[in-house]
Symmetry: C2
């Protein structure tokens, strides 16, 4: 099959956004940003066997590749408009393409954005590069810097599920005996199908003082935000929101906290809120700590003085550092 | 080296465009498109050994990866603003990164656009995915469709140099004995360092009736444009602009015309001009034919009735079709 036919068959559908003036089929796409809005641009590359297990279902790969990009838009408080997809394929497998395309379209519909263009090439491993575009009102984007001492630290959802799911997927960690079968499925689902927190990002655009999405592990990403704001933080380990599955795992194996806080792939939002801001329960936020200037810039302290994974010499961060 | 350090060291420089409100370093970049302008988005993925020889210098790889994307913007009549780069690296080679980064920055400066964001991952082969953004006045983009019978067909520069350069690079074709040493260097340079035709694209935005950039071979790309416009065309083989090097090659080996017209990687613009439009010599255009509705849609005829490469059963197009 020629590239032209492949794109036409699997990646060319009418855009739903009026902002997409021209989509797939020309040299480039054309976007008409809404008046008073800036264009927000995020990009992530995913490679099979590195960013998702080779065995991942095509629908889940499509879902995840789009989700991780939209998670970056959510973290900026932006609303998605569209995305480009460059796809490196080891072979032309029509059944795989059919399922991937259906999954991609379902994900795009779910999060209200359009595929506007892309490229397909042959690659030795399945490689996906998505660039996503959204819009945010001028001056309302949520950035990494700008947090203030006294601000509160909050996260969406639960932390650590994807990291535990990855241990199951790669069989690098033994699931504790008390883990239910449904727990395993849940953790894998959290790894394969993250949900970008678009609604809360949008609701907190112009409200949150700072924020980012947790992709490299809660502690590492918090460190980045603290560095950008010139602050330190105190967090409460007991307040970190955990799923029932993660709780059961930690009951049996408390050392797995290293993976929960350092493993990444959460795609939850870590947000900095002004101290006086009333929390809307609809945001689904859990308060986990407070920013201060009591420590060195970037320093994270545990409220009860317990050691944090980074301080135990856990080196996940450098292990896969590029 | 951690990803964070790598990005900071090699890919984080202050943007020059006032339209780039936020560049490298946050979850996403922010673009403030100029009023009355649409945003034009193009994306291309390049893999070592497939889109450029493994031996290509890092500066040339950076140049080419950006050039092929900006060529798509040029073909739309857009002015470049910025781009994202996702980079899959087989290893962290600081000397390579240093040279690649310097080359990328030189190319970005040359064409007046900013690196606004990206991603770095480990990959088995060097993989580059660039998404470029430009702006074009609302309604002035040059598209593939919309050509009319009687319109003239023009190209920038010379055609076929990169395809002959690739034969030299891969040693798949024997250079004829009459080829000068300087010819070989010139053809390789045309393969490795294409020049996006930004000025002429910009000058003909709102003027050209249709257009695209020649990346898959002159005849194939012309066919795409004809299909999009529902027309056929007559071209004059003798009018196709050739470099002195390509002319010398064809004198010795006339069958190389297949590569010249079908080989691709030219990154010249193929433009459709209204019949009455006076040609400005500054555009550097050569007229090569005329559109009509005398044949089937997409059909290309040679003026003197000579066979065209596609009609000789040359199958470069399907050979690397995905």
């Amino acid at each position: 099959m020629q590239e032209f036919d492949l794109i036409h068959r699997y990646f060319d559908w009418a855009p739903a956004h009026p902002e997409v003036a021209l989509a797939v089929g020309d040299d480039a796409a054309i976007l008409a940003p809404p008046p008073g809005q800036h264009v927000v641009i995020a990009t992530d590359m995913l490679i099979a066997g590195r960013h998702f297990p080779e065995s991942t279902a095509p629908e889940a790969i499509a879902h995840k590749a789009l989700a991780v990009n939209l998670s970056d838009l959510a973290a900026m408080g932006a609303i998605p408009l569209g995305f480009t997809l460059s796809l490196g394929l080891p072979e032309i497998d029509e059944s795989w393409l059919q399922r991937f395309s259906a999954g991609l379209r379902a994900a795009a519909d779910r999060w209200g954005c359009d595929l506007v263009g892309g490229d397909t090439v042959r690659a030795s491993r399945l490689t996906l590069s998505i660039t996503a575009f959204g819009s945010v009102a001028v001056g309302k984007a949520i950035r990494r810097g700008g947090a203030q001492a006294g601000d509160r630290l909050a996260v969406t959802g639960t932390i650590g599920d994807a990291a535990l799911g990855l241990m199951l997927a790669l069989e690098t960690g033994k699931a504790p005996a008390n883990l239910l079968e449904a727990d395993g499925s849940y953790l894998r689902e959290r790894l394969d199908c993250p949900e970008p927190r678009l609604s809360v990002g949008r609701a907190l655009s112009g409200v949150a003082r700072a924020g980012l999405d947790v992709s490299d592990g809660l502690l590492q990403d918090l460190g980045h935000m603290l560095s950008a704001s010139g602050l330190s933080a105190e967090i409460d380990l007991d307040a970190i929101p955990l799923s029932p599955a993660a709780r059961r795992w930690l009951e049996a194996d408390p050392t797995a906290i290293d993976h929960v806080l350092g493993g990444g792939d959460d795609y939850e939002l870590l947000l900095v809120l002004p101290p006086e801001l009333p929390l809307d329960p609809e945001w689904g936020l859990t308060l986990i700590g407070r920013l201060d200037d009591a420590g060195a810039v970037g320093e994270i302290r545990e409220r009860a003085g317990r050691p944090l994974p980074g301080q135990r010499g856990y080196d996940h961060f450098t292990e896969d550092g590029a």
